[in-house]
């Protein structure tokens, strides 16, 4: 390929927008603002309950002693 003086690197014509594959507008994202607070089991003070891990009898999975930290699997 020959280049004229004054040309920069020659590249092909792009056939996709640079930001095409990611973060498509209108698609719901897990990290959207307010999503964390909306989901069950997340308490406002940065703690969480078993409800963030399971929807089945979540309260039964919380610690038996309220003074214990609530550490659900995920």
């Amino acid at each position: 390929m020959t280049k004229k003086d004054g040309d920069h690197i020659t590249t092909g014509r792009r056939d996709v927008r640079p930001d095409a594959p990611a973060h498509v507008k209108g698609v719901k994202e897990g990290n959207a603002c307010g999503n964390y607070d909306k989901q069950a089991g997340h308490l406002p003070d940065a703690r969480s309950t078993a409800a963030r891990s399971t929807g089945i009898n979540a309260a039964d999975r919380d610690p038996i002693d309220p003074d214990m930290p609530n550490l659900s699997p995920a």
Partner: protein
Amino acid sequence: MTIRSPQEQETRQLVEMSWDPITRIIGNLGIYTKIDFQNNQVVECKSTSSLFRGYSVFMKGKDPRDSHFITSRICGICGDNHAVCSIYAQNMAYGVKTPPLGEWIVNLGEAAEYMFDHTLFQDNLVFVDYCEQMVKETNPSLLRRAETTEAPRGDIHGYRTIADIMRAFNPFTGAVYREALQVSRLTREMCCLMEGRHVHPSTLYPGGVGTVATPQVFTDYLVRLLRTVDFIKRAVPMNDDVFDFFYEALPGYEEVGRRRVMLGCWGAFQDPGVVDYDYRTMNEWGRRMFVTPGIVLDGELRTTNLVDINLGIRILLGSSYYDDWQGEETFVTHDPLGNPVDQRHPWNQTTLPRPQKRDLDGGNYSWVMSPRWYDERTAGYLALDTGGGPLARLWATALAGLVDTGTVRSTGHSVQINLPKSAAFPDMQFEWQIPKWANTIERNRARMYFVAYAAAMAFYFVEQALGEVRAGLTKVFTDFEVPEEAIGAGFHEAVRGVLSHHLVIRKGKIANYHPYPPTPWNASPRDVYGTPGPYEDAVQGLPIFEENGPETFKGIDIMRTVRSFDPCLPCGVHMYLGGGKVLRQVHSPTLGTSVSG
């Protein structure tokens, strides 16, 4: 390759010798020297890179939320440092702060990365230059002396003589070499526990992490950390023995790779208690980082203020294959504190590549630009180096006297590192003292001390993280919106030194993005003012201690010097010696040390 061509210059007989490629960075670093063999000295050195990456070109127009995933791919060994640095820059741009537990998880992952990478580099790559096989080929008399020199700290590491240690460094057969491979696996696992994957983390995001913080994950980390600590407790004294021996047995070896003390460190490990990623308070939270940012000039701490550090960065041209961007768009005229931002600052850089023929004789010869730090006091553009990373980090931290976690304490003249009891050893304290010189040996010595530093810090981070978990504070992520217009800067330490990411967002997309990793600083060519880059500076004037003459010259002292800067992974030296006689000396470890090279 090396091309030899004698040149008469004044009264000196100079031989041109070149090593290209010398190291990784995808095998594209070349060192071109002129050597005076009669006086055993390197007279001139130029460092060149023949690869163009173009991250700053193709990041434009992309969604800023992708930038840590993309820029992580800059490096195949410290990609997580890039991801973290990009996240710091994004946090600033989005105005979001990671919850404390998330921040401890990032710190734990990065501590594991430092332990992993430094161990792998030191024991599997650097020490190949110091192993029995290599020393036998380059300095046989030194090896004879090593055979009869007792290792002063042999009671800790278990090797009786210095030569025994050198044998343990032999690639593939040496005990230290093999053990280091095991340790680098352990430390990589630690990184994966925190960051999901190594080298390109999958659970690090702006605003937090996706790692599920259970007591189990920290216990898994701690188990591996304690096993690593056993290795570190032997490695630090062993390293000291070898490096002290070089000073003792080769008087004048301190001049190898020595350059003026001009070290830069951009700081590592955020303190979640203070960091809010607001540029306006960057000085305060920067100084609370667990590795203090700073610029060390002639042994004095010039500044620890990240705002000063940021504003002083200048990207110069002079010997690089780019057009100047002085007349291009200015993205950031003033920083959020109202300080003017130079057109040569990364925020305002426009990369205009211009491929051309390499001209080592007064023309352009490298794809690396010349990052410099503008010192207002002297109005000079300083070619800072990173000392391979650890030297600058320990030096800045030691002088600043700001770090005190109990496990690590900075005294103003040294760094004390306390490691707890482990399976094979009782608790131990190491103290890294500020050395007299910034040279090849001290860059290498600092590396293993920093592994100890990172391990000691990791104990502190685990305690803090478990404190959060025990309080039930499981939140590790904060949500955020991407603003239409914003700027951000991330400052971090890649394993081999300073790392900055500068980001400009317009219309919700990246308008400008410039990562500046350590190797552009270290491997930079001569700038527009004629100032050589650190590799060039350190190799120029280097005395040669190798016993081989010009015909069988390996350039071991030059190799040790360039590798002391940790130019990512040194993989090979291909050498061609004059007059059509081609000698290929593969420097990378090959199976079986009985085979030459």
